[in-house]
């Protein structure tokens, strides 16, 4: 299959060579680790807040807001590193890029289902044990969100190293 003769603005952005530095395996893997650590910290903060009497508090609100805002540049960097393969129109991808996306989707299928199940059961458990409904929703959202990111992390971690110069 061919690359679309008129790639979308999004595809052109992901292919922009100004962001070539994000495609080095070391940068991609660091982005995965940073994103996973941030989400783990947010999950831990949610569990810690739900263990308190007050539940939703100012410190938790601050942590949640900062964490969610930090995810935006972090995920943008990670997505640039994988050329946005999972977000672009399939017509702007060639057969190898589509193959990489499909491989990551199938590799992370069951872990994603397991995390989605954990999101539901985790939220139910928080309500049952503490009665904090908002925090239960926060925990459920974080785990569900993480399940969606697994495919991105797998692709960023396993994508092969690119050639430095295609003009050769």
């Amino acid at each position: 299959m061919s690359i679309s003769p008129e790639p979308t603005y999004l595809a052109r952005t992901f292919e922009d060579e100004r962001y070539g530095w994000t495609r080095h395996p070391r940068v991609r893997r660091r982005a995965v680790v940073a994103e996973a650590a941030l989400l783990a910290a947010l999950i831990a903060a949610t569990l810690a807040a739900s263990a308190t009497e007050t539940g939703w508090s100012t410190w938790f609100f601050g942590t949640w807001t900062v964490g969610m805002l930090a995810l935006i540049p972090m995920h943008s960097l990670l997505n640039l590193g994988i050329r946005g393969i999972l977000d672009r129109d399939a017509r702007s991808l060639d057969e190898h890029q589509r193959r990489l996306g499909e491989r990551s989707h199938s590799a992370m299928g069951w872990p994603s289902v397991a995390l989605t199940f954990a999101a539901f059961t985790g939220a139910v458990a928080v309500v049952a044990l503490t009665g904090h409904i908002v925090l239960a929703l926060c925990l459920g959202f974080l785990l569900w969100f993480t399940s969606g990111l697994l495919t991105y992390w797998h692709l960023a971690w396993t994508s092969p190293e690119e050639s430095a110069d295609t003009d050769l």
């Binding site: 690359i3 057969e95 295609t166």
Partner: protein, 88 residues
């Protein structure tokens, strides 16, 4: 669609690099001609990706050669060895 080779026996060998050098064609130019990303040509050349039949045929057609002259399941002899064999 093509795939990543799982073992050495699974690998598709090719002469794309040699042919590109011989014809003075860059990866980018070849990629544009056959409708793939330039990085994909690099992966095929390095044996990290086995192209689909359609892509293999398009590459062979670009070089105006039969597909078996460009791709092989067995390691391809170097062109100099091939020439030597034919002239001796």
């Amino acid at each position: 669609m093509g795939r990543q080779p799982k073992s050495e026996a699974d690998k598709v060998h090719d002469r794309i690099g040699v042919l590109r050098a011989d014809r003075g064609v860059s990866r980018k130019e070849l990629a544009e001609a056959v409708g793939v990303h330039p990085q994909t040509i690099g992966y095929v050349e390095r044996g990290e990706y086995s192209p689909s039949l359609a892509l293999a045929l398009r590459i062979a057609r670009y070089f105006d050669l039969p597909v078996e002259a460009v791709f092989s399941l067995d390691p391809l002899p170097s062109l100099s060895q091939e020439l030597l064999r034919r002239t001796s």
